[in-house]
């Protein structure tokens, strides 16, 4: 299977929101098969409404369009290029991956069904492999963002993963709860995480398989490891069915949205995406 020659690849770097300075997020495409979304919303990288709607959503659109344009006839079926997406926090610091949602967002009527849930479930079922490069604390919504990815590489340094809603006396919105139920590796981890609000160190997160690998060397080290991981899994995108398989796997989450769930073939998924544009 041929991939685009590296010498013909033009690295892409797009700031989001469009025209913003400084950007809240940067989308880059450093190699033909690799995409990186770096979120940069302030010292603790909150997933503000703008980050969800004007950074993550359009970045995913751009990646998916570009990747779908690689479609070509293979020997026995249609094929797409290998590809993988890394989602990371601000690479210029080592403290936070993301500190989650803003209090104002959570209080806003309709925020979850209309803003958060659609973005997070899009990421959850994205048609190319996704890797969260957890380069710092991942709290609450930040941990959910990381769990929505297929894989997690975490810094081995001083950072925790936790769901801290229990300490605030708030329950979990349905999609968040469903993601925890389906992505956390066992009932005892679910109990410790959601009920006890346990702060998992990187070593604990690795031991219970909440994350797949640890990386030394701060944000740069985490990104480097994530890129190595991406190179191992990028071929999963090639047959164009990864997104549909994720939809099947995560039906329990999608069912909460109340939309019609369809499980398209690769060709249908491609057509549907183009129709939406």
């Amino acid at each position: 299977m041929a991939s685009a020659s590296a010498t013909h690849h033009r690295p892409v770097r797009v700031c989001f929101p469009a025209g913003s300075n400084p950007p809240l997020g940067i989308l880059s495409h450093p190699s033909p098969t690799l995409w990186v979304i770096e979120l940069r919303n302030g010292p603790d990288n909150r997933l503000a409404e703008q980050v969800l709607l004007d950074v993550i959503a359009p970045a995913l659109d751009r990646i998916e369009l570009d990747w779908r344009n690689t479609r070509r006839k293979g020997s026995d079926s249609e094929e797409w290029a290998p590809a993988a997406l890394i989602l990371t926090g601000d690479l210029r610091q080592n403290k936070f991956f993301s500190n989650g949602l803003l209090v104002e967002s959570i209080a806003m009527r309709g925020f979850f069904p209309q803003i958060f849930d659609p973005v997070i479930t899009r990421l959850l079922t994205f048609p190319i492999p996704t890797i969260a490069a957890i380069n710092g604390h991942a709290f609450a919504g930040g941990l959910v963002l990381a769990l929505a990815c297929d894989y997690r590489i975490m810094t081995s340094g001083r950072a925790w993963c936790s769901m801290n809603e229990i300490t605030f006396g708030v329950s979990l919105p349905p999609v968040v709860s469903a993601i925890l139920q389906t992505k956390l590796p066992s009932p005892d981890v679910l109990r410790a995480c959601a009920l006890e609000g346990k702060r998992f160190t990187p070593q604990e997160a690795l031991a219970c398989e909440m994350v797949d690998q640890l990386a030394e060397g701060g944000s740069a080290g985490v990104l480097h490891k994530a890129i190595e991981y991406a190179e191992r899994v990028e071929n999963l995108a090639a047959k164009g069915v990864l997104g549909t398989l994720k939809k099947s796997k995560y039906l329990s989450v999608l069912n909460i949205l109340g939309d019609d769930i369809n499980l398209p073939t690769p060709h249908e998924a491609d057509t549907m995406f183009r129709t939406k544009l």
Binding site: I166, G169, S171, P174, S177, P187, D188, R191, L195, E196
Partner: protein, 274 residues
């Protein structure tokens, strides 16, 4: 409209002086204990569920809810509940339902047994089952409905032995098993094979959290230590609501409407019922 605060210790059924089916105690400001004493093997009957366990849970919940401060946005006190078999023996935690009697009644599972299990599954303070002996079938469901389990290291098994006496399990109890049991293979061994787990097996497979040497008093003591570790989780009043959120299928299949209420609403609803 509040009832007078329960005074501990007390016997159940209410008014029993000799041979109570349960003794409910409050040994520390943050710990409640329900000791079940229903005959030699602690069968879970309709009488035990309705006239003993339900009022016991009511009393504990009422007592804990009364700890909430009066000010706006106040918190509750830390708290935890231990449920244990009879303390003057070491053979049984519970031998499960009186199955033949249970199946005489159409309403037993949906209206009598499931409500107690789901009450525990969503109880507002951490619950610890102190398995001071054999834990079979309905007894194991009772144990799994609690948040944590400590078990004797001695001669006792836990199992779901329905497969061996030809009984199906309900959708709700299947969801409890699925919610609390670590993996498909353990679930298979448990439900389909009716495997008898020794304490060591149970620990290795995640069915219990800790095993304890000694007699019932020692199991109770260890459960109390466990309780101290987790009692603080109760203070924001959302422990039970959070459980309803992360174990939704249990409540959906018990036909209970899993309304996502706030701690304030839940407090008010409970007090209105009294």
């Amino acid at each position: 409209m509040a009832m007078p605060s329960p005074t501990f210790p007390f016997n159940l059924p209410a008014g029993t002086s000799s041979a109570p089916l349960a003794i409910v105690t409050h040994p520390t400001p943050t710990l409640w204990v329900i000791e079940l004493r229903h005959g030699a093997d602690n069968r879970i009957t309709t009488h035990l569920l309705l006239d003993v366990l339900t009022p016991a849970l009511d009393a504990v919940e009422q007592d804990w809810r009364a700890t909430r401060g009066p000010e706006e946005g106040a918190r509750w006190a830390p708290g935890a509940l231990v449920i244990i078999g009879a303390l003057d023996q070491d053979k049984f935690f519970s031998n499960g339902l009186d199955y033949l009697a249970a199946i005489q009644s159409e309403i037993f599972f949906p209206r009598i047994f499931h409500p107690v299990l789901t009450r525990l599954m969503s109880f507002p303070i951490p619950t610890i089952a102190a398995l001071n002996g054999h834990t079979f079938a309905g007894g194991m469901l009772l144990a799994l409905s609690c948040d944590y389990r400590v078990m004797t290291s001695g001669k006792a098994w836990c199992s779901m032995n329905e497969i061996h006496f030809g009984a199906p399990i309900t959708a709700c109890t299947a969801e409890i098993l699925r919610a609390k049991i670590r993996s498909p293979n353990v679930l298979r061994a448990c439900i389909l094979e009716g495997r008898r787990f020794t304490p060591q097996d149970a620990l290795a497979n995640g069915l219990v959290d800790e095993i304890v040497d000694g007699k019932s008093a020692d199991i109770l003591h260890k459960a109390g230590e466990f309780a101290r570790r987790v009692e603080g989780c109760a203070v924001t009043g959302v422990w039970g609501i959070m459980k309803k959120s992360i174990y939704p299928r249990v409540f959906e299949t018990a036909t209970e409407f899993a309304h996502r209420m706030t701690p304030n609403e839940q407090q008010a609803i409970f007090q209105a019922k009294l």
